[in-house]
Amino acid sequence: MRSADRPISPHLQIYRWQLTSVLSILHRAAGLALSAGTILLVWWLVAAASGPDAYDGVADFLGSWLGFLLLFGWTLSLFYHLCNGIRHLVWDTGHGLDLKSTYLGGWLVVGGTGALTLIAWIAGISSWVY
């Protein structure tokens, strides 16, 4: 058989999606989003240190629709990266690497991310209102 005729591994676009690979890609995407979000964190701190005018600027931005959207994406990314990061740290000890555990851990991470994001926003909005 010539090398060109050999069956090759399916390309990413026609490969069936699996929870494990999707979560792996999302971990990296969330890490990138969080890296960008650190600019917001530093802006907030520097503005608070600079005084009321600068702080009003960052507070107005965070209170806008775009600010809320960014904060929501940031909390979602943070809780996902946190939960899946703990999953990675468990793997680093050599545990939970069989197929069943990776799927169980994966779904736990998905559920944990959703629950923590929901709790944080309910707590945040009620703390903001009262």
Partner: protein, 126 residues
Amino acid sequence: MRSPLGRAIGLGSAKEGVEHWWLQRITALALVPLTVWFVIAVIRLAGADVDTVRDWVGHPLPAIFLVLLLIATFWHASLGLQVVIEDYVHTEFAKLGLVIVVRLACFALAVAGIFAVLSMALQTTS
């Protein structure tokens, strides 16, 4: 024409991979409690005015935790972003350039954040 051995010699690992891997895990471990603490703190500060925020940063424990959070965050981010760049950017010049830019940006942001925290912490006389 060079022999396969001739092409391979001198292109081994830089022997620094273990330290990179290890520091990524150590900073991750530190960030687990620090980020949980930070999220709770920010939720309690939601909608607060500048004086409330400055008063909070003026206390020793929040200031110390914030500095630790900034160090661990930017160290972790710089290591992680480096891996992403090395995976997807294959032009040597662009790869090296991006890694350097990311390193310097992380360092600059960390210094800015730490300076802001310290200036608030040391100004407050409580």
